[in-house]
Amino acid sequence: MRFSFELVPKHPLWKLEIVGSMAENIGIDGIWLSEHPDNRSSILTACHLLKTFTRIWIGIGVLNPYMFHPLTMAQVAATLSEIAPGRVYIGIGAGDRISLERAGIKRTHPLRRVERCVKIVREILRRGFYDDEEISIKLNFRPRSAIPIYVGAQGRRMLRLAGRIGDGVLVNHTNPDLLESAVNEVKNGVEEANRRINELDLAAYLTISMGEDESRALKAAAPYSAYIISGAGEELIERLGIDPRVVEEVKRVLRAGDWARLYQILPPDYIRATAFIGGIDELKEFVAKLLKLGYTQIVFGGPFGPRVLKALRMIGEVVKYFRRI
């Protein structure tokens, strides 16, 4: 069982450094840095944090093959391994459709693109080169350690693909029902590839908002839920039990950046459907359930809570509890 944080490089590097330091102090194993084209570079942030810390590992999660060529991903991962051998992970996924469209990129054939990308990156990292009928590429240096490749997944087919090809899977859900069905999809993929489930690290990539005051925890999670809902496909919206009319309204509000209106239109139940809201005991119960389902890594992702320092310490209590049992 491993515990990690998701940090979003929308914050200044010094602030990420403070949270990273807290992570080390409370027994967190690693940090996943999310990649968004409008935030600070997750790659350069990883470089800084790997130089700063000596124990925790850093994962870049996730890079998508539309904005990053597989050779670039392999080059980045191999270079980072020179700074911190054995402490570098790479996440590959289809990327956020809306963000890509804003950059003028159509997210075509995501399954095929991710599968090919993982194959190429893995080959380059293992053998130093990749050759097929379309491309012939190589690195002039070797990675200093093995670099596990995680596949970021949310939809059924991507989860299955992740089970087939990933060294790990970043399951991008917080809803308990979806996390449960995701395990089954990953297992299907594992079976298709004649692998065993314990060959891969199954990570629940959670949106967490902890606090003693539930209304404030809900408010802190609302923008995160809004982004999850606005980026979700029709199938996911249906499975979450969310009214499609609310989705359209949320998209409009996000475009306008009208946060006050967001709190009015987003019902608490919809926030709870996409984010964990609660205190230490509730989080212990939730984590225990996930471990029972077969998850081997718990990623605690933002907003953490309305009071970040307090929330991080609460998460620390939960981590300590599971380290003891």
Partner: protein, 78 residues
Amino acid sequence: MRRYLELDEGGRRKLIDGILEIILSSPNADLVSDEVGWKISEKFRSGKLYDLYGFKLLLEAANSCDPIKLEKFLEGMR
């Protein structure tokens, strides 16, 4: 705010968590100068936020990113 710089170490220690909370929870951390931010991180990591210089940096950072919250917090602690 100058009067808070006259607090002794015990007094400063009582306020540190609350001020750090304001900084970490603020969406306006980009308003803090990078120079101050890096120094705070250095002090935090060496466990010396409570010294006079560390405390001064914290006050400056919180005042940059969330002055109203800082004022309310300090008033509440008096």
